[in-house]
């Protein structure tokens, strides 16, 4: 094989590769669009009026997740399944955002941490690599960490809206999450960097809880809830 032949063979391979990437990019753009829409829907829970509408907002978000499912099944068809990690970088970011949104919806509905299986199910993808397009564990964890900072914001805003019990529940939840993350041996990678931000969320929520308890607002809220 001559040098020229060899290089034109490689060039053929590279341009085929670029075509696949181009296709993936288009689908990922749609996914990002839908993710933004879901975020807009969920953002309204930070409004004082939004607190009463949490179930309806969640229902609406769940509807939008159907669109996500179709986009993702389209994405699956764009490349051979065993080459997931070859193109991983293209959808890594959006998949983390979507995991965050799924986790946020599940938290608002049931105040529980979304499991990896649930998150994958909401997105219409698999959990284990062998079965096809899956949710990578690091992406799942990154999504959960994004949710933690959203919850610290929610704690602040729920006080403003007059809901004094929610911050305490959020605090318990985040503390449990924090202990969970402390079990992991993270390498010096993007996930680790993101995890390092968790302590600030924990701190912020603790401050909110402190403010509430020093003013007796948490007790007041409890008796109110009991009545």
């Amino acid at each position: 094989m001559s040098v020229t032949e060899m290089f034109s063979y490689i060039q053929g391979f590279l341009s085929a590769d670029q075509d696949v990437r181009e296709d993936i990019r288009k689908v990922v753009q749609n996914l990002e669009q839908t993710a933004r829409e879901i975020l807009t829907v969920l953002q309204s829970v930070h409004q004082p009026t939004g607190f009463k509408e949490i179930p309806s907002k969640c229902a609406k978000a769940r509807e939008l997740f159907c669109t996500v499912k179709t986009h993702l099944s389209e994405l699956k068809r764009k490349f051979p399944m065993e080459q997931y990690y070859r193109f991983h970088e293209h959808w890594r970011f959006v998949l983390q955002r979507l995991t965050f949104l799924a986790a946020f919806v599940v938290y608002l509905e049931s105040e529980a941490l979304v499991t990896r299986e649930e998150a994958a199910q909401i997105l219409g993808i698999e959990v284990v690599r062998e079965k096809g397009f899956h949710l990578d564990i690091e992406d799942y964890l990154a999504g959960v960490l994004i949710m933690a900072s959203e919850l610290s914001r929610l704690a602040v805003n729920s006080v403003t809206a007059g809901d004094y019990t929610r911050p305490i529940r959020i605090s318990n939840f985040i503390n449990e999450l924090d202990s969970g993350f402390r079990l992991l041996n993270l390498k010096n990678d993007p996930l680790r960097k993101r995890y390092d931000g968790l302590k600030y969320d924990v701190k912020k929520i603790e401050e909110v809880v402190y403010d509430l308890s020093i003013r007796g607002l948490s007790k007041e809220a409890e008796t109110e809830a009991n009545m």
């Binding site: 490689i10 997931y84 070859r86 990896r116 079990l183």
Partner: protein, 280 residues
């Protein structure tokens, strides 16, 4: 590992309160224990691959050094055979990588072993060039990276295909091949300079022709390739420039100066060229 640098005085107390609130058998903790295992397994595999890749790099570099000696000894064949033995050892190591990657997505761990593979491509193509004066193809490289394993996973002779044995292949990706070939050009430049030093007049001309072909190939690929390729293209131009200058000197001065003095002329010229390197 202090997680609350900003926490101040009451951090210890808060920690104990926090841990008291946490039920070790809660679903979240149980889930994270599973994640811990999964991440650790993944990181361990990554580390093992990095280690093998380092060994592959070192051994390939040594092979390249060995191959540079062909210009100074009379019997090139002996050195080439010695390089063969060394490369066989490197291939065994790549077999270990293939073992680790069995059933995995090779691109998931690609970053861990790509430096080693590029170095191997460089070594193997360098040897191929010295022997055949041509560019080794990707298929030829991959064809040699086929390993036979029995179920117990100990290496066996390729001929021994007993039932229960399986074939393990390792595929060098086109971009790794490309980057390895880009590195090869640097070695060829060195080979060219040192062969002039030994009074070999033919090799530089062959090399300049070969390098020009490779350079044209890379220009053909241009920026469709991965990012690193465009970076290496710059170095390739420098190497090509040096080789072309060498051929020029040989042609111009070769007709005037007696052959035994040519080496001296040449070496003084290259030292003169070196400071310009950064400017070009």
């Amino acid at each position: 590992m202090n997680k609350r640098e900003g926490g101040g005085c009451c951090s210890k107390q808060a920690d104990s309160i926090r841990d008291a609130n946490v039920n070790p058998s809660s679903p979240i903790i149980a889930a994270f224990k599973v994640f811990q295992q999964e991440l650790d397994t993944k990181h361990d595999k990554h580390e093992r691959l990095v280690k093998i890749s380092r060994d592959v790099t070192i051994e390939s570099k040594r092979t390249i050094f060995l191959l540079h000696r062909v210009t100074s000894v009379p019997d090139a064949e002996e050195i080439l055979n010695e390089a063969d033995v060394k490369l066989d050892a490197v291939r065994q190591k790549i077999g270990l990588i293939a073992d680790e990657l069995r059933g995995e997505d090779i691109y998931q761990f690609h970053k861990a072993f790509t430096p080693g593979i590029q170095e191997y491509v460089e070594a193997v193509s360098f040897q191929h060039f010295i022997r055949h004066r041509s560019l080794i193809s990707l298929e030829e490289i991959n064809a040699r990276l086929v390993f036979m394993r029995t179920e117990k996973a100990d290496p066996e002779a390729p001929a021994d295909a007993t039932p229960g044995a399986y074939v393990l292949t390792f595929h060098v990706t086109p971009s790794d091949y490309l980057l390895g070939v880009a590195d090869l050009t640097g070695e060829l430049m060195r080979l060219c300079i040192s062969s002039v030093g030994n009074g070999d007049i033919d090799t530089p001309f062959q090399l300049s022709q070969f390098l020009r072909q490779i350079h044209d190939g890379f220009s053909f690929i241009g920026n469709t390739g991965p990012y690193e390729v465009s970076k290496k293209l710059h170095t390739l131009r420098q190497s090509l420039g040096k080789v072309e200058d060498a051929c020029y000197t040989l042609r111009v001065r070769g007709s005037e100066i007696p052959k035994h003095m040519l080496a001296d002329v040449f070496s003084s010229r290259t030292t003169m060229m070196d400071p310009e390197e950064g400017v070009v």
